[in-house]
């Protein structure tokens, strides 16, 4: 733990915390992206599946398994002693969307990570953030061996609004991931400014 450590007798600094979500299909590199910039090894939190999964989860044959867990990986970036940014990888399966609601509440914004070989895997996340008016950017994870497409083609395939930024990135590369996160915050600022304008005008 780095932030807030105090000298004896001095009260610890109580940081302002913000969060950015990292969404996308299974295996697209969400945890890799978090790990590329996090100052801690991505940690895992779990929640036991409650009512939401009960009709879905057929546990016959695995009666020894009492609970299903939803795991979320997250990382931390201490920007200043009093300013800490958390990154949360959203659970991949669609039936865990009740966790997304909780995660996205109060989120600064989101990265939807996309793989051009399986672009359809991120449709659900794009829909989700559009519907809830959460500012997001598309990060196209450029896997080695995957064909490169012009950004315009990808935008069209995703049916993106013009104001949604689309960035090519490498989820393993710290500088590249920093650029994506800066893109999210900049987009969130513009988004917030537009919203304020539309409220007042």
């Amino acid at each position: 733990m780095i932030f807030g450590r105090s000298e004896r007798g001095k009260p610890p600094v109580e940081p302002v915390t913000l969060k950015i979500l990292v969404a996308g299909g299974f295996g697209v590199g969400k945890t890799t992206l978090v790990g590329a910039v996090s100052e801690i090894r991505p940690l895992r939190t779990e929640e036991y599946l409650t009512e939401a999964g009960r009709p879905v989860d057929d546990t016959s044959g695995v009666e020894g398994k009492h609970t299903t867990t939803v795991a979320m990986d997250f990382g931390r970036i201490t920007l200043r002693e009093d300013l800490v940014l958390y990154l949360f990888g959203t659970p991949g399966q669609e039936r865990f969307w009740f966790m997304w609601d909780e995660l996205s509440e109060g989120a600064l914004g989101a990265v939807v990570l996309a793989d051009t070989r399986r672009l359809e895997d991120c449709f659900a996340a794009v829909d989700y953030f559009e519907r809830r008016s959460i500012p997001f950017v598309i990060g196209v994870n450029c896997f080695e061996g995957a064909a490169h497409y012009p950004a315009g083609d990808i935008r069209q395939a995703l049916d993106l609004d013009d104001d949604v930024p689309l960035l090519l990135c490498d989820a393993r590369d710290r500088e590249s991931v920093k650029d994506v996160l800066i893109g999210v915050v900049e987009h969130a600022m513009e988004y917030g400014a537009e919203r304020r304008q539309s409220v007042t005008s």
Partner: protein, 131 residues
């Protein structure tokens, strides 16, 4: 579990699965009375007057662990859950108990829509650039 936390180690065996079923630590409670759900990035801060939480017989070992973790360094709910290897729901209830007992307080995150101005977001961008 007995109130002093001493009775835990005698009854379980491998067949029992986890040493204690997670929500047993909260005595079956899944929410804490009179509290909003704590955000994953809400920050838990130990009150400065708390010296020795272990001496308090009403606290479980997990309560004591949370106070100890938050004493030097305020911790987010997500980090507490990961460090203690407990489900988030359990940590929320236990933190609620500690708030009621005035051993910790919780700073809720400010939703971005309610930020007074953009200066914090500029600080975030500058901080990311400087990494």
């Amino acid at each position: 579990m007995s109130a002093d936390g001493q009775g835990r180690s005698h009854w379980f065996d491998d067949e029992a699965g986890p040493v204690v079923r997670p929500y047993a630590m909260t005595r079956g409670r899944t929410t804490s009375a009179g509290q909003h759900r704590l955000d994953l990035i809400a920050v838990v801060v130990a009150e400065p007057h708390v010296d020795d939480p272990e001496a308090d017989p009403s606290l479980s070992p997990e309560h004591v662990d949370i106070v100890d973790l938050c004493r030097d360094t305020p911790q987010s709910v997500a980090e507490l859950a990961a460090d203690l290897n407990l489900p988030i729901g359990v940590v929320r209830v236990l933190v609620g108990d500690l708030v009621d007992a005035e051993l910790v307080h919780v700073n809720r995150p400010v939703p971005p829509a309610e930020l007074p101005d953009e200066s914090i977001l500029r600080d975030v961008i500058n901080g990311l650039r400087a990494l």
